[in-house]
Symmetry: C2
Subunit: 473 residues, 2 copies
Amino acid sequence: MKQLDKITPRDVDFSQWYTDTVINAKLASYGPVKGTIIFRPYGYAIWELIQKYLDGKFKEIGVENVYFPLLIPQSLFQKEKDHIEGFSPEIATVTRVGDTELPEPLFIRPTSEVLMANYFKNEVKSYRDLPLIYNQWTNVMRWEKTTRPFLRTSEFLWQEGHTVHSDRKEASDLTLKILDIYTEFANNLLLLPVISGKKTEREKFAGADSTYTIESLMHDGQALQCGTSHYFADNFSKPYEIKFQNKEGKLEHAYSTSWGVSTRLIGAIIMTHSDDNGLVLPSSISPVQIRIIQIKETEEVLKVSNDIKNLLSNKYRVDTDKTDKSFGFKISEAEIKGIPLRIEIGPRDLENDQVTISRRDTREKIQVNVREIEQAIDQMIKEYDANLYANALKNRENRTSKAKTIEEYKKVLESNQGFVLVPFCGEVECEEKVKKETSTNSRCIPFEQDNKIENCFNCNKETKLKVYFARAY
Amino acid sequence: MKQLDKITPRDVDFSQWYTDTVINAKLASYGPVKGTIIFRPYGYAIWELIQKYLDGKFKEIGVENVYFPLLIPQSLFQKEKDHIEGFSPEIATVTRVGDTELPEPLFIRPTSEVLMANYFKNEVKSYRDLPLIYNQWTNVMRWEKTTRPFLRTSEFLWQEGHTVHSDRKEASDLTLKILDIYTEFANNLLLLPVISGKKTEREKFAGADSTYTIESLMHDGQALQCGTSHYFADNFSKPYEIKFQNKEGKLEHAYSTSWGVSTRLIGAIIMTHSDDNGLVLPSSISPVQIRIIQIKETEEVLKVSNDIKNLLSNKYRVDTDKTDKSFGFKISEAEIKGIPLRIEIGPRDLENDQVTISRRDTREKIQVNVREIEQAIDQMIKEYDANLYANALKNRENRTSKAKTIEEYKKVLESNQGFVLVPFCGEVECEEKVKKETSTNSRCIPFEQDNKIENCFNCNKETKLKVYFARAY
């Protein structure tokens, strides 16, 4: 894939702008198999930071990491009916090894509920063995017709949590505890103002009793599902026979959950924060938070650069651009890569003991005394992150509407693409019709509800539910 | 897989002892597809500690992590002749998605040289783009006829480094720098006294110019390859057309390397250090380094346990067994899991301000004043690790012999299975014959050579080379 010289302006062609940004920031390239991508070092470094944070949070609440096999025998997969129906058409299937046909086709995992359930079945005997709270960081495959780097690819990276419990409420509470971790992570670290809530019947995960979700709104007004947490009740433990002896000595089916976020979060970050000059990254997951650029390499400049780097490295991820490229090129590279702050150091500024700090988001520059640099950086990083969040929230608020009827809904979407809160009956057939007519669907039933009885925006049935609909990636 | 009550003694049946240890220590279970395993939390935690250490070391020398796709189109794989010949019979092949046959079969990566080469081809234009020093932590598949948890499984986890350089020597030096990291890691952290050296022509990696290796000797005298580093010269850059413009402005083929260690290291640790009571783990990769066990839960015992845990947690991975199992059960569980030190705290000892510390390796117990516990632990961990290494080294030394002829070689192997240093011509056909006749092969050409001319132990040809042969896993 060739390096582009220019990024298409975001308002001219959002989709092309997105691809241009991914390529020019060197986040990813296309793989040789259609719909796959190569995570280049800069893109993978963002994923590593996401992993590090979430993995720490999971471990704090007692999650244990495991690794389950890539391949699932076809016969094992087919026990849970909704699950196989949901995934069948997308499953890459291994049918031979070398020149030898396999006796049974093997599925590359699209997700690992089935393998986990089969393991839990053998492992769980008594309520004393429970809960088991597992997670794995893996690759999974779901063959997709239309793909887009990070957002939708045939293979992607994710974490998938799988838990099994002796108590219905404990399982259900766990899905919400995980949703809280996701929500807090998205809001405070990725600076994505997400709406959390529950999926409708039509949109819930294949095999789930309930699916919880965090939904964010991209700059262009399309929604993106950023993470989901599923409560299965005993939907998997029945077909897969996960039974335990409860405190009363009776056999009972166990209660299970699963939950995950994927590399699609990188897509969400790009489409929420970035601009016509390339990436804009939240400081928490920016592989380089501060880049030092020397205007001229005098002895004094080198010394001060080094001192500043050492000083700030205790707290921040700092690097120095040591290439022999021009000053202008270095600046635009730092911009394309979305590095939050640049420190530009030149001999003239140093005469007054000053350096220049530039913010990536506002492109504002300030001159700071060398002795006050740490304070200035602390302050600017805070303002930078706050500004990213505020902009994203403003965009979401500007793009959130209400509608009472399907006609109103269509009109609103046409004039202001975004979230539309509608009274909705919640039924599958009704949502199916909306989807067919508008190519949009429900995103989530927000936890906050006014509980007023109104009429479903589409079928007119009485309902208390208010639901966010949107066009989505 | 059912939990066994007893571990088969190591000297009665080494292979059964190994499996019993893996299962009883809850490191792994078998997956539903033949030859695959499930990494249970305790087994995966060891892998995480291995990853953390090596990943840090790699990053120190400028390695960048990436992620390349799982699937490789058949046509792309076939460009390097030796490579396809080496891997073909073991490759799991995806031929359909859902009900649809794919136009071209896709291989699940057995290793990623081909994908990397194809990427480097597009990425590398000038010597200024080089070197690229990449690594990825992934799953790979190689279908194996006989499998054994960790040692040889159809799917395994590993890191695979892939680099490309403008300079032949720089590439070759990098493979040795990586070998140094592996050697130091194996010796000092895994406490595996490895021999490092070069593979013979027959044993080198499919497509490599030279393969370097670290080889260790298991308790039963069979060798295990623990890590390899390959220098490819331009063997991949020619068929895959990785060319760069050199400083003289001419197009030149680039020089590449690859290197890896896998979850097989966990097998090496088990088969080197463990005993009839279960696992014995080097402290560096032990998920729990110190376990506190309370003899009786008095208020005083709980308080002291807590104080000790807080004190030691700054330096060590410490936990407290809080289950309601018996004291005896807790002790044997800590032993089976190979936890280096246990602190046993009871009311009687506390009357004298004492606690008991037990070592897993020697099963030695000492009584220590509560106020001196940190010092005592520091000292004991050091001695524990030193003892593990010394025992492994002694085993290797006792099991290392020399032989001058094939008859002597066979006799030596029969009486004392282990490494045998022999004068060897290094030729493929000659090694082929040795392999056929003895089911053993060369492990490595050690870096230290006496350079005396002798006669090949098998074909009698004159040679300077001394080579280690052994039966291997």
